[in-house]
């Protein structure tokens, strides 16, 4: 207008604050400082949506998102999917909604988020195949489709739900800040589409950002220090204290990952089984009542080997690109997933050697020095343990609080020591049947040991399960709270069944079996085998069930979703 308007002075007079005005940095609505009456004659906002200068040393690109400007129109989401030809189920950019305050002073805000191109990208660190690249020039976290085997580990590692699995391709895909458009001096699709200019690309000095990245934090966003997110978020001036996510009712179960349930439980079974066997045979030299183990060793080891084979082949079906499973070994220096595979490969090779030696001894009547047997068995047993540990480490990711606790390694080892001994018992029972023998009180030693180990492990597993329901605080750790809620409400039946089965196997069944020795001296081989079989199958189903709950009830950290959108896809 040619003449200056009176109404800004009037707004000041009425003490009515103006909204979304220009701040010192050239953007609208800087954090926390109320500007009234100074609207006229301040700096114009930066008009360019992307940096006009080339990157200086020590700088990288980042998104700036201005929450005070976003109106939640979803243009960025649609533009992104159009730009990248993604199916509706894959959204590299998503818009969340949060609300707070009391009517009519209620506030509602939208949060448009894509990849944060973190300084410490957890997707990259966890990747077993080196499919990620932190672009040295621009800092953009890029993903190489050809290298990806679709293991989806990055989807667990990212606290923002950024990498998403594209079923049609069998691989994970993610935002690359429209890298090629930027290189051509054009704005990324989301930036160009935003009618409010709420999304921009800017440069950030990496060293300074490492020192202070608090501008990446916002209500309901995962803590920026997990991976040092680079997205700068401008918060509205008057953000109520008590904001809530609009999708708070939408706590959805995650993928059950059937092949991973099979793989983890069975590898733990095998590792636990082999450890008990190996320890048993070692102890048998000194402890008399374990003597019966010596002739059984070969059967036990062979059985375990078969299970390991089954487990490892199951794991391949987890991958989006099974044919390229071998690539997963590549990043063993960095990725626990590579290490897991490494240890279990070692376990199966050493286990195979161990079983082969034992077979040769038994059926070809060859003689090997005891020390060789013990050390090869030991290598197998310990690499199995290391494998379980590596497995557990995979799940210890800050982005998934329900997994990221000491309980995860505990429950993995406990699964091994619930099922391993029972599996040995099954083989032992079959061995008895095969040999036409009965189980006498004198040869009860190993059986007692197995049952004891399994029962103690089962009881501990029960404690670990209950422990999860404590230390849940909705405000402090919403994901743990939601996870506990999911388990005890939506999966109540599964949860109760799990408790029941654990109790049955730890206390009731062994009691009945052992009590039969009070009245007689021996139980038939068939009787033992049947008991062992039932006991084992119940324990196995119980552990499968437990692992199912483990996968589906993990509530990952994520950006807030919209009322209708889960925060990204299930992973």
């Amino acid at each position: 207008m040619p003449e200056e308007s009176l109404i800004f002075e009037m707004m000041d007079k009425y003490n009515l604050p103006l909204k979304n005005r220009v701040g010192k940095e050239g953007y609208y609505a800087p954090r926390g400082n109320k500007i009234t009456g100074t609207v006229l004659g301040v700096v114009e906002p930066i008009e360019s949506l992307i940096p006009t200068e080339p990157l200086a040393d020590g700088e990288q690109y980042r998104f700036h998102f201005d929450m005070s400007r976003c109106v939640g129109c979803q243009c960025c989401v649609v533009a992104c999917n159009e730009q990248n030809n993604n199916p509706a189920t894959v959204n590299w950019r998503r818009v969340g909604e949060i609300e707070g305050g009391i009517y009519p002073n209620a506030k509602k805000f939208h949060m448009s988020m894509a990849c944060n191109h973190c300084l410490d990208p957890a997707c990259l660190t966890g990747c077993p195949t080196d499919a990620y690249l932190k672009d040295p020039k621009t800092g953009v976290v890029r993903h190489k489709a050809e290298e990806c085997i679709g293991c989806r580990y990055c989807t667990w590692n990212c606290a923002y739900g950024v990498p998403q699995f594209n079923k049609e391709r069998g691989i994970v895909t993610k935002c690359d800040m429209c890298y090629s458009r930027l290189a051509d001096g054009m704005a990324p699709a989301c930036v160009a589409a935003c009618p409010e200019k709420a999304i921009r690309i800017e440069t950030v000095n990496v060293a300074e950002w490492l020192k202070d990245h608090s501008a990446a934090d916002a209500p309901h966003m995962p803590d920026s220090s997990i991976t040092i997110s680079t997205t700068r978020i401008t918060l509205p001036e008057s953000m109520p204290e008590d904001t809530m996510r609009l999708n708070r009712h939408r706590v959805e179960p995650e993928e059950p990952h059937t092949s991973l349930i099979v793989m983890t439980v069975l590898t733990q079974l095998a590792a636990g089984g082999l450890m008990t066997l190996w320890l048993g045979s070692l102890l048998a030299h000194v402890v008399g009542f374990l003597k019966p183990l010596e002739e059984f060793q070969v059967f036990g080891a062979s059985g375990i080997l078969a299970v390991t084979g089954l487990a490892l082949s199951a794991s391949v079906f987890h991958l989006g690109r099974p044919l390229y499973a071998y690539k997963a070994l590549r990043m063993w220096r960095r990725s626990w997933l590579s290490r897991e595979i490494l240890f279990f490969s070692l376990f199966s090779f050493a286990g195979a050697a161990y079983a082969a030696l034992l077979l040769a001894e038994t059926f070809l009547h060859l003689e090997f020095p005891e020390v060789i047997l013990v050390s090869i068995g030991g290598i197998a047993a310990f690499s199995g343990m290391a494998g379980i540990f590596a497995s557990a480490k995979i799940y210890l990711v800050p982005a998934r609080p329900a997994w990221n606790t000491i309980r995860t390694p505990l429950r993995f080892f406990l699964t091994g020591f619930i099922l391993g001994p029972l599996f040995s018992l099954v083989v032992y029972g079959l061995h008895l049947v095969f040999m036409g023998k009965n189980l006498t009180r004198e040869s009860l030693g190993p059986v007692l040991c197995w049952l004891a180990i399994s029962a103690v492990a089962g009881f501990s597993q029960l404690l670990v399960l209950f422990a999860r329901l404590f230390q849940v605080n909705e405000g402090k750790n919403p994901e743990l709270y939601d996870s506990a809620l999911l388990m005890t409400r939506r999966f109540r039946v599964h949860f109760l069944l799990r408790i029941g089965l654990l109790t049955l196997n730890s206390f009731i069944l062994p009691f009945f079996y052992l009590s039969s020795f009070l009245t007689r001296d021996a139980v038939s081989g068939i009787g033992t085998a049947v008991f062992a079989g039932i006991s084992f199958l119940i324990a196995l189903s119980s552990e499968f069930l437990g692992r199912y709950l483990f996968f589906v009830t993990v509530v990952p950290k994520n950006i807030p979703g919209g009322f209708f959108t889960e925060s990204g896809g299930k992973h």
Partner: protein, 744 residues
């Protein structure tokens, strides 16, 4: 599964096939790096077919198929920006539920028939019915979705071909109040302002307009203006309210009280433009007297705002250099809609804020070409903003068309809601519905369905089938949609833009224009009403002549000029020296379209809505829209991404009410009014709505808010009162419908 697909699927499962080609990128000459699969053979410039903002865009066509859409950087309206619907508009063309063949219901089942048969059947049945019950027994309900050329063509076909006056558009459910209000205040329809005013005003006053959800690109225009105060009047804390400097959370339908109260204060404080009032208006004294009683205290009682706040708002408006008032459905969808528009115009007139740069009372239109049908439609007025009642106007048209003056009706026929009522009273026996879906959008659905079932013959002409309305039709005519036909749209700011054909309609579908010509031929009126017409251009040329010298003067506009400039605002007279790029306003000289050239001030009394909450139905129901969907979702309902973002209807309720009723966020509830029920709708517990009010978006046929709305209509505009009804809310016991929207 054939061996080839089996082989492909194995390759994909093993991970050999990464769909690399589908997800590859390449450089498009015009738009740079983008998905290679979406780089077209050519970009066709056109105008968006959803709302009335009128954004310019390009459709990318690859091998005869629309594969992408990009905003037109050079279009004056949107400068390349598009809303989420526009950004994937090509998907609306490729939707699986497109109508492809004429379908005739024989023994209660649709049978595919040829066009000849379909048209013969339609015209034959209509003529039989008209012969039996009189020509007026045929009702025709149009839309705001066609191109202006088609509206012009259809208007002539209805009024001069079928000779029925009972032709109206679904614009009556949308913009009639604005049109009637403008006619009463200024003597003619036609919004005086321009979008440019959003950028030039120092005060922007939005009443009942949630532009962030419904006209997102206007937010882009508004945000360009850094020196403005934004006031938003809305009972809900909408997305738009969040943009506002001041949000006025008034009680439902109390806007007339607020406007009267503001004028009361401005007159008392002498913040009015006496000179303008004296020179350019009639009726000020009467208005002033009437406003005496609208003291801030009284207004406060009705609106729920404090007297202090009302005073501040009035003085802000009165002190602003260029205050711009814009409104949408919050004003129009009311039994007092036209009068509310008059109250708005009163306020603008007494302060002299009409047709100045940055200052106008501006109705933001709904559909992409609602303006086109208002200008050319031949429904509530004669083409070119002429009046049925005016013999001069009839004479002009008769001369232009070379017909006898007597053929032109001397009064308006029934309005849309009256046509529906006419079915019930036996006046209407056959109905032809074009490109609208009343079985979602009409208020009080049970009543409408009852009416439609009484018809002897119902023809539905639409781009989509099956949709709720086409299901009950006797004959379905498959029409081409946006992207498949040529013509022009006029947006809210009177900007005429070119719409182009990018692809062929699917199956045997034809453009509405071609269908109208076929019908005229069968009717035997082709040469008399469409002399030598072949394409839309012929209609446009004639339309230009019809508008020559009128307020909506198109005579200087050509298709070629439109292509060149993206869009040109009318009036653009033949020989005009104005640059087509320049914004133009109406009534800049204070000369109005009334007989004496003066605008009329109307004293407006506030009336309470006919139905207010009570013990049995304790909640106010408010209805509206969401940004992801368009009207009744015939277009957007089949677009996976938009559906993922907003898959089903919801109901908003204040936490205090939810607590009383023991509802949780995310529960499914049942909403019931005296007229109908929504059995199952998800609850959104939010402080953005006032206690005692609920809100349901109307887009969703599965949970239709219009089962609940009242049948009340504005006596002047005939626009229904969608925004206020009394309802109760209970826990839902209904099982999910089988036909629930798919979650992709």
């Amino acid at each position: 599964m054939n061996p080839k697909t089996f082989f492909q699927s194995v390759r994909r499962r093993l991970g050999i096939d990464l769909q690399t080609e589908k997800y590859a990128y390449d450089v498009d000459e015009q738009f740079g790096y983008m998905s290679k699969a979406k780089i077209p053979d050519r970009w066709i410039p056109t105008t968006c077919g959803y709302c009335s903002v009128g954004c310019g865009l390009f459709i990318g066509v690859k091998k005869g198929k629309a594969v992408s859409v990009r905003g037109n950087q050079n279009h004056p309206v949107n400068e390349g920006r598009l809303c989420p619907k526009g950004l994937c508009e090509h998907d609306a063309i490729n939707a699986p539920n497109r109508a492809k063949y004429p379908l005739l219901k024989i023994n209660k089942r649709f049978q595919r028939v040829g066009w000849d048969w379909a048209i013969r059947e339609m015209v034959g049945r209509f003529q039989t019915i008209q012969n039996k019950y009189g020509p007026e027994s045929l009702g025709i309900i149009g839309t705001g979705q066609l191109v202006t050329e088609e509206f012009y063509t259809l208007g002539k076909l209805a009024q001069l071909g079928f000779k029925t006056k009972n032709y109206d558009g679904n614009t009556t459910l949308c913009m009639a109040s604005a049109a009637s209000g403008y006619k009463r205040s200024f003597g003619s329809d036609g919004p005086p302002g321009s979008y440019e005013d959003l950028e030039k005003a120092d005060l922007v006053f939005l009443i009942g307009a949630n532009i962030a959800d419904n006209h997102p690109i206007l937010c882009y225009r508004l945000e360009k203006n850094k020196r403005r105060v934004l006031i938003v009047v809305d009972p809900r804390v909408t997305k738009t309210a969040m943009m506002a400097d001041i949000h006025l959370p008034i009680k439902p339908r109390s806007d007339i009280a607020l406007l009267n109260g503001m004028m009361h204060i401005l007159i008392k404080e002498e913040k009015i433009n006496r000179g303008y009032i004296e020179k350019h208006t009639n009726g000020f004294e009467k208005l002033r007297e009437d406003l005496e009683s609208w003291t801030p205290d009284r207004v406060s009682d009705i609106t729920g705002l404090t007297p202090e706040r009302i005073r501040q708002i009035a003085l802000l408006y009165g002190s602003a250099n260029a205050p711009f008032i814009a409104w949408t459905m919050g004003v129009n969808h009311s039994a007092q809609g036209a009068e509310t528009v008059n109250a708005i115009c009163n306020l603008a007139l007494i302060t002299g804020n009409v047709g100045r740069v940055g200052a106008s009372p501006f109705s933001i239109t709904g559909q992409c070409n609602a303006m086109g049908t208002r200008e050319a439609g031949f429904t509530s007025g004669l083409p070119g903003y002429r009046k049925f009642e005016n013999p001069e106007h009839r004479k002009e048209l008769a001369a232009l068309w070379g017909i006898q003056e007597e053929i032109i009706p001397t009064s308006r026929g029934m309005a849309y809601p009256d046509i529906i009522e006419g079915v019930l009273t036996g006046k209407i026996k056959a109905l032809w519905i074009i490109a609208t879906n009343p079985l979602v959008s009409f208020p009080n659905q049970a009543y409408l369905l009852d009416c439609l079932e009484r018809l002897e013959f119902l023809v539905v002409q639409d781009g989509y089938h099956p949709i709720p309305t086409s299901r009950v039709a006797d004959l379905v005519l498959p029409a081409g949609v946006w992207g498949e036909k040529e013509g022009t749209y006029t947006n809210s700011e009177r900007m005429v833009s070119k719409v182009n054909k990018a692809v062929e309609p699917p199956g045997e579908a034809k453009s509405d224009f071609d269908i109208f010509l076929m019908i005229a031929k069968e009717l035997g009126v082709s040469e008399s009403i469409y002399p030598h017409w072949k394409g839309p251009r012929d209609a446009f040329e004639e339309w230009k002549k019809v508008t020559h010298g009128r307020l909506c003067d198109y005579s200087g506009i050509t298709y070629e000029l439109l292509e060149k400039h993206g869009g040109i605002q009318w009036p653009f007279k033949e020989g005009s020296t104005r640059s087509p790029k320049e914004s133009v306003r109406l009534y800049t000289d204070g000369k109005f379209e009334t007989e004496d050239g003066r605008a009329k001030l109307w004293p407006i009394d506030w009336k309470a809505p006919s139905e207010v909450p009570d013990k049995d139905y304790p909640f106010w129901l408010n209805t509206g829209r969401t940004v992801e969907h368009w009207h009744t979702r015939t277009k957007t309902g089949a677009i996976p991404l938009l559906n993922r973002l907003s898959p089903e209807a919801w109901v908003e309720m204040n936490p205090r009410d939810a607590q009383n009723l023991k509802f949780q966020h995310g529960d499914y509830v049942r909403v019931e009014s005296r007229r109908g029920v929504v059995e199952r709708v998800i609850l959104r517990v939010t402080e953005t709505i006032a206690p005692g009010q609920i809100f349901i978006p109307f887009h969703y046929a599965e949970a239709n808010a219009n089962n609940l709305t009242v049948s009340d209509c504005d006596p002047i505009s005939r626009e229904p009162n969608y925004k206020q009804a009394a309802v109760r809310v209970e826990r839902s016991i209904a099982v999910p419908l089988l036909e629930r929207p798919k979650r992709h």
